[in-house]
């Protein structure tokens, strides 16, 4: 019985830690993300900014977008599934946890401020 008393909380703690880890990996940390978005801001932080190559169009607004979609987009650029040259280079420099943090930062509700 003593063994159970020790074992059960230990198991519970291990499970909780495992769950927290899994959530951390998928959810990302917006505060950490805010330190990793310098390379995003030059285009996505400027209202109406246009790409110059290989085609001219306004870069998408990403603040307020779903986090899961932002992660998928970055993964698709990294894998080459999406082909924009600048985004491929930037996404290739990001690890999975970087993508999660950046997505958590941009996916926060209520971000509106922009440089005009």
């Amino acid at each position: 019985m003593i063994k159970f008393r020790v074992l059960v909380p230990a198991l519970a703690a291990a499970l909780a830690a495992g769950t927290a880890l899994a959530q951390g990996a998928s959810a990302g940390d917006p505060t950490k993300g805010s330190q990793k978005v310098q390379m995003c801001q030059g285009c996505h932080g400027i209202e109406g900014w246009r790409t110059a190559f290989p085609e001219v169009y306004r870069v998408p607004k990403i603040a307020g977008q779903h986090q899961a979609y932002l992660v998928k987009a970055l993964q698709a650029y990294k894998s080459g599934e999406r082909t924009h040259p600048s985004m491929r280079a930037i996404a290739a420099s990001l690890a999975d946890n970087d993508m999660a943090d950046v997505a958590a930062y941009y996916g926060q509700p209520g971000l509106k401020a922009a440089v005009k």
């Binding site: 169009y57 306004r58 870069v59 779903h66 082909t83």
Partner: protein, 111 residues
């Protein structure tokens, strides 16, 4: 007014209307198409409730149109979107981009 200048003015007016007509997207037609094709995943107003599907409302129209053209051409690869975009005409794409970019948005450029 000489005959020549009348002809010139007439041509200028026709050119202006022609250019406008060719480029102007039809937002109402875009909404109808959106209801038919896009709304089940992206929402009728483009604020998709599911995290798997991007919000389109208020996104830049030229970006939305480019995304659809790339899906249609196969240069942007997604099994679901390839099917939907493949069935759209160039006019449908312009109309849809005009409709979704005009919807109230939570998206923004953020510094």
């Amino acid at each position: 007014m000489t005959l020549n200048s009348r002809i010139l003015i007439g041509l200028a007016v026709a050119a202006a209307f022609g250019a406008g007509g060719a480029r102007a997207a039809d937002v109402a037609a875009g909404q109808a198409k959106a209801k038919e094709v896009c709304a089940a995943c992206h929402g009728i107003d483009g604020n998709s409730p599911s995290p798997d599907f991007p919000k389109l409302a208020g996104q830049h129209g030229d970006y939305l149109a480019k995304a659809l053209r790339d899906y249609k051409a196969g240069t942007r690869k997604n099994a679901i979107m390839a099917g939907f975009a493949g069935a759209l005409s160039a006019k449908d794409i312009d109309n849809l981009a005009a409709y979704y970019s005009a919807q109230p948005s939570v998206l923004a450029a953020k510094y």
